[in-house]
């Protein structure tokens, strides 16, 4: 049994007991959503990626139980998540996004359980955001995260907000299975995962973050010590078809800065990290802006222009495609009753000209339904480049969700 499974099972029982105890309590509420997703690939899959399909249907459920008591000074949140995928056994998966107890005191709070944390300001990638592992089978944009076991204390004063984290228990990144798409040509054998630390997935990580607002500046400084959330994918020595790789999670230390200046309708953004791992160190940065044209052509529509430059000075153990890349995006917000929004963006690699294009649009239907469209296109793919594995994986996805 992996740490993740243990956490899930323990969590499930804690919650069951809790729910039994609290059925009569007031201020307890269920909310959440269920959704159906259809993903359609525009091209036949690459012959080297045997086993893939052109259409994928999947269903998700993400209910949330929330209860607070003690004059709202204490609360518990439980958010299980499950996805059933028609073809991909790895994408058919469950997770506890949150199972957390929170106690608030004057100017400080204590949190214990499984939870999710976000750090940073940029849109194209989230360098500074390090606490939660990516739920990569959900979407290749890396926005979906797995629940992370943590004990967090948070102190908020005039000089800012300090969060200190103890992170017991490591979550492995999820990867698509043999029938999954998009996926890397090599299958990631997550059962054979290796760690630098002898404590493996039981290694205890630590993180510290200071955050403050000084006028129009929002500043964050963070430090993390523990198991890298990004694995190095090592080829196995056995010749198999399809080829296989084993994830290796090294230990690392990372210092991060995130900065945003909010000046009128301009948001200036910067994230920098310095990471020490594998007897080496490197810098990576994202810098850019978001400019909003408010009330376009005398309507209620806002048009945001996002531009970010992505930099990474690694020459080995590259785990990302973003080395010297430019991201350009247009965000259209209609500000209507249905909260209609669209984000069109592309990221171009300056050296190889490989291009990743995406369109995300959403709209509410009635009071409880929401429809989302997502398209990802891979252009000018270099046969030796990082994105080659996604060469034939242009897709259009429709998501219909019911919220309660």
């Amino acid at each position: 049994m992996t740490a993740g499974q243990q956490i899930k099972i323990t969590g499930f029982f804690i919650c069951l007991i809790w729910l039994c105890l609290s059925t009569t309590a007031d201020a307890a509420e269920w909310s959440g959503n269920i959704s159906a997703q259809s993903r359609h690939f525009l091209h036949a899959s690459s012959p080297v990626n045997a086993g893939q399909h052109d259409n994928y249907l999947s269903l998700t459920a993400e209910p949330e139980f929330y209860h607070r008591w003690d004059d709202e000074q204490q609360s518990i949140t439980f958010t299980p998540f499950y996805r059933y995928d028609q073809h991909d056994q790895q994408r058919t998966h469950g997770d506890i996004r949150e199972l957390v107890w929170l106690k608030t005191f004057d100017n400080w709070e204590l949190k214990a359980g499984i939870s999710k944390v976000f750090w940073g300001v940029t849109e194209s990638q989230h360098l500074v955001d390090i606490i939660n592992q990516t739920d990569f089978v959900e979407n290749i944009d890396g926005e979906d995260k797995l629940g992370q076991p943590m004990i967090k204390t948070s102190i908020e004063r005039d000089w800012g907000l300090i969060d200190f984290f103890i992170l017991p228990g490591f979550r492995q990144r999820t990867y698509a299975g043999i029938e999954g798409r998009p996926r890397s040509t090599a299958i990631v054998l997550t059962d054979l995962t290796q760690y630098e630390s002898a404590d493996k997935e039981r290694h205890i990580d630590y993180a510290l973050r200071w955050f403050n607002t000084l006028g129009q500046w929002d500043i964050g400084l963070s430090h993390f010590k523990g198991t890298s959330r990004e694995p190095i994918l090592q080829p196995t020595l056995i010749a198999t078809f399809p080829p296989t790789v084993i994830p290796y999670y090294p230990q690392m230390e990372q210092t991060g800065i995130d900065l945003q200046a909010t000046i009128e309708d301009w948001l200036w953004k910067l994230e920098i990290i310095n990471r020490h791992w594998l007897n080496d160190h490197f810098y990576a940065a994202t810098a850019g802006f978001e400019y909003t044209l408010i009330g376009l052509f005398d309507t209620d529509t806002d048009l945001g222009i996002v531009a970010e430059y992505l930099y990474d000075n690694r020459d080995q153990y590259l785990t990302t495609f973003f080395e010297h890349d430019l991201m350009l995006g247009l965000r259209l917000v209609l500000n209507d009753e249905q909260s209609t929004e669209a984000l069109f963006g592309f990221i171009i690699d300056q050296d190889s000209h490989e291009t990743l294009m995406s369109l995300e649009a959403s709209r509410r239907i009635g009071n409880n339904w929401k429809i989302e469209l997502e398209t990802r296109l891979f252009q000018h793919i270099d046969k030796t480049g990082f994105l080659n594995m996604f060469n034939k994986d242009d897709f259009v996805q429709l998501n219909l969700s019911y919220y309660f």
Binding site: S75, E156, L161, D265, D300, D302, N367, N368, S401, Y403
Partner: protein, 264 residues
């Protein structure tokens, strides 16, 4: 004779020329005094909480509902701090806005997105944009400080049987969607009864009617219903306020970044 008429005309003209600015200054002062008195009477509640139901209606009569919880903290000498937490529609449940409003310098605003656990500092320049797709702009629902406008008293007028001062006010902050607003202020209670908004081209845009006023703590008047009619689009929004509470003991730590994350 001619000379005398000339003198008379000149003196009358002088009086007129002098009296126009004098009268204007007097009207401006009276307008400002009314606004100050209204502000004085609404000061000292320390903090407030309330539940808000918004009913958005389009031209065809289709409705959409929003449920919001609102918290306010009075800040003496500056704009108030405010937090709005969304309960409905369900897809935005837990989304929260934190605003530190200021009289003349830009407000500071943060948005919390619960699905991403992400706090975003957002531009406060967007004062004229619609709040949650409604006919209320951000500037209509933000804290109303005296310094945010300049004023002019127009006349006394009876509105629906209520004795009112009719004043005109002009936004003194940047990026307003309005050139001016006509405000009917209740003479006895110094509370707004009606506001008419004129857009940037000085064309009639919206009318806001306050009704079902209730007094709290023997001093503070709050309208339970606020109806905004947009004359240009035919759309309207009705705000219904419930469960008003004052002096509930909120403080700065209830309007912090951490409180934004645990707002739901």
């Amino acid at each position: 004779m001619n000379h005398a008429i000339q003198k008379l005309i000149i003196s009358w003209c002088t009086i007129l020329l002098l009296s126009v600015p004098v009268q204007t200054v007097a009207d401006e002062n009276k307008g400002l005094e009314i606004a100050k008195e209204a502000d004085r009477r609404d000061t000292g509640y320390k903090d407030s909480t309330a539940r808000l139901v918004m009913e958005l209606k389009n031209k065809q009569g289709d409705t959409a509902i929003r449920h919001v919880r609102v918290k306010n903290l009075e800040v003496i000498g500056d704009g108030d701090k405010g937090m709005s937490i969304f309960d409905e529609p369900a897809d935005v449940k837990g989304t929260a806005f934190l605003t530190f409003s200021h009289s003349l310098t830009p407000d500071e605003q943060w948005l919390y997105l619960p699905s991403l656990k992400r706090i975003k500092r957002i531009s406060s320049k967007n004062k004229s944009g619609p709040f949650m797709g409604s006919e209320f702009a951000y500037e209509d629902i933000s804290s109303q400080e005296v310094d945010k406008y300049t004023y002019k008293y127009i006349k006394d007028e009876v509105l629906n049987g209520i004795d009112c001062f009719l004043i005109e006010r002009y936004p003194a902050y940047e990026h307003s969607g309005y050139t001016r607003q006509l405000v009917w202020v209740n003479k006895n209670e110094y509370r707004p009864e009606k506001i008419v908004f004129y857009d940037r081209k000085d064309t009639l845009l919206k009318t806001l009617n306050y009704s079902h006023y209730k007094q709290y703590l023997g001093q503070y008047w709050r309208a339970e219903k606020m109806h905004m009619q947009n004359h240009q689009t035919g759309k309207s929004t009705l705000l219904s306020w419930f469960d008003y509470a004052f002096k509930t003991g909120l403080n700065d730590s209830d309007f912090s970044r951490n409180s934004l994350k645990r707002a739901k």
